[in-house]
């Protein structure tokens, strides 16, 4: 595969077979990423899947053991300085100086981005205003709440209007209000043409923000696609609830026969579920077949899958760790 221009799409982030190990732990063992310019890419995976390692590699904080990548058109290993000039990074933990005030932090980062004198000061004030931090601007950031610090952190990443913004679990541990504010910012950045790569454990977040999703598991790219494509990959979820536990096996037999896939049981709710890609399976047909087989139905549903269903299906995790 050639880097950079690929068909007519320009990729802001393109990695092939990225590997990183820490001693015995193989944190990444072959990560492929292709994030087209101007898109929001959600890197989704359970704890320990390698999401943070991927971000640390792509932002030049770590050097890959194998594989290669280009970020904003620059080779990660050979041109780290050029990559650094084109990116903004907001990590899982706020990376601002707690001993400085919010304003001092932003001015410092502006200065280090070569914005001299009034340009840097104006930019700092703009960002403080945009993130609702003007009032707290002259307090040391160690006195900020978690949400305020994360907002300042994001502001610090936007000092230069980066071409590619990396957000590593940007809303982990935030209250709903702060979370919404970060989501709004990501949407606004996207509309301004910024490419965003964000990692998250929250499926809702990926569903809300991402144009493309990369499912990472055990340090590898497990699946990629738009949220809709990934959902289509596993089809719809049919679930029925029966009147008494003895009826569950009968319901399962009907579902198995209808879809050819193996049903899953929820004993507590007396529910039987199955996934199907069969477009002819409609809710009325489902109900008719079950009724005809004498299954005492209490409830039945046929719904599109959530990203959570996709996630559980496509990774071999039993449940999401959040």
């Amino acid at each position: 595969m050639r880097y950079g221009r690929h068909m007519t799409t320009t990729y802001a982030v393109l990695s092939e077979g990225l590997e990183k190990r820490f001693g015995e732990v193989r944190a990444l063992q072959g990560l492929d990423l292709a994030v087209a310019e101007g898109r929001v890419c959600g890197v989704l995976g359970p704890n320990g899947a390698g999401k943070t390692t991927a971000v640390r590699l792509l932002t030049t904080l770590l050097r890959p053991d194998a594989g290669s990548a280009r970020v904003a058109g620059h080779d990660l290993v050979r041109e780290p300085a050029a990559v650094r000039g084109a990116i903004g990074v907001t990590g899982q933990y706020a990376s601002v100086d707690g001993d400085l005030t919010g304003r001092e932090n932003l001015r410092l980062f502006a200065k280090l981005h070569r914005m001299r004198g009034p340009t840097g000061r104006t930019r700092a004030d703009e960002l403080l205003d945009r993130f609702g931090l003007t009032e707290a601007a002259d307090r040391p950031t160690s006195t900020y709440s978690g949400g305020m610090r994360r907002r300042l952190d994001l502001a610090a990443s936007l000092v230069t209007r980066p071409a590619v913004l990396f957000l590593d679990e940007p809303t982990t541990g935030l209250d709903p209000h702060s979370r919404n504010q970060i989501w709004e910012t990501v949407r606004a950045l996207k509309s301004e043409g910024t490419t965003v790569l964000l990692t998250t454990q929250y499926l809702e977040e990926a569903d809300q923000l991402a144009d493309d999703i990369v499912l990472v598991d055990h340090g590898r790219t497990a699946h990629t696609g738009s949220p809709a494509e990934l959902k289509a990959l596993i089809g719809s979820c049919a679930e029925v609830v029966v009147a008494h536990p003895d009826a569950m096996s009968g319901a399962a037999a009907v579902l198995d026969q209808l879809t050819g896939s193996e049903p899953a049981f929820d004993e507590e709710r007396r529910a039987v579920g199955v996934v199907t890609t069969d477009p002819t399976l409609t809710l009325p047909r489902l109900v008719r077949e079950l009724d005809a087989a004498g299954v005492p139905l209490l409830d039945a549903s046929l719904r599109p899958p959530t990203l959570e269903d996709v996630f559980l299906r496509l990774t071999d995790r039993k449940e999401l760790v959040t």
Partner: protein, 263 residues
């Protein structure tokens, strides 16, 4: 190089602002020697053969150098604090010089130390210490003191960057108080057993202390002893040159390696 100067200045400004917002460590490290001067000079001094005033005059240069040697502790603490906080990651993702962060720290430390030494000198004057040599020699003494501080700070920065946590750095840093005890900063080394005397005289603190006593005109250069003590100015300059030549590049490299692939 102009990149380094520009970024280094920005980092110097950052460090000075941090100290202004959070002067605790600075106040502690600068008031400690004053307390020690009063304690040693009046409490311990009364048990020594040397007359009180003479001992206090002997003690002031020793405390100045012992305080300068604290550069290991403060350098270590600040570097560890920084490297275990996210802000260092941000610096590493910025298109800035790799050496600017540690260099800014060392430069800020020097500025602060220069200012922080004044109270100790004033208290020293109040308890009987005097500058008995020429103004030029006294200026040389201050220059040597700051050079020594600059050298020890780099030891601290390297250790701080290499330490596993802020707490570990704090504990190890606290242990550095032992270094001036094994030198001629607080006591004359003449009466120490042979091997201990040799060890104490090869301690860089001894060379710099002797140089300060000589340049301030407080005590003559000893006629016998290890080379750095009998040639204190040359010995001090040599020690500083060696420490800087070893620890500055190691610390800068350690900072860059911490993550960055090149430079």
């Amino acid at each position: 190089m102009s990149t380094l100067a520009y970024d280094g200045t920005a980092m110097l400004g950052r460090q000075l602002r941090r100290i202004r917002h959070n002067p605790g460590l600075l106040i502690l490290t600068q008031t400690m020697p004053i307390t020690m001067l009063l304690f040693f000079g009046y409490v311990f001094g009364s048990a020594l053969a040397m007359p009180g005033e003479e001992y206090r005059a002997f003690l002031v240069p020793g405390l100045l150098v012992a305080t300068a040697a604290n550069g290991i502790m403060t350098g270590m603490f600040q570097a560890a604090q920084d490297s275990h906080r996210g802000v260092t990651d941000r610096f590493r993702t910025l298109p800035m010089s790799r050496a600017a962060v540690p260099l800014g720290q060392a430069a800020a430390d020097l500025v602060v130390t220069a200012a922080g030494t004044v109270p100790l000198l004033l208290v020293g004057l109040a308890v009987g210490w005097r500058i008995e040599g020429s103004a030029l020699e006294a200026a040389g003494a201050v220059g040597l003191l700051l050079l020594f501080r600059f050298a020890t700070t780099w030891i601290g920065i390297l250790l701080g960057l290499a330490s596993r946590s802020e707490e570990a750095a704090g504990q190890l840093g606290g242990a550095t108080f032992i270094l001036p005890l094994l030198s001629n900063a607080y006591i004359p080394t003449d009466n120490l057993p042979g091997w201990l005397r040799t060890a104490a005289e090869w301690n860089p603190i001894s060379a710099v202390t002797t140089a300060l006593r000589d340049l301030f005109g407080n005590a003559p250069v000893p006629a016998d002893g290890a080379w750095p003590v009998t040639h204190p100015v040359a010995g001090s300059l040599a020690w500083c040159a060696v420490l800087i030549a070893v620890f500055l590049p190691l610390a800068v490299r350690r900072y860059a390696l911490g993550a960055s692939p090149t430079r």
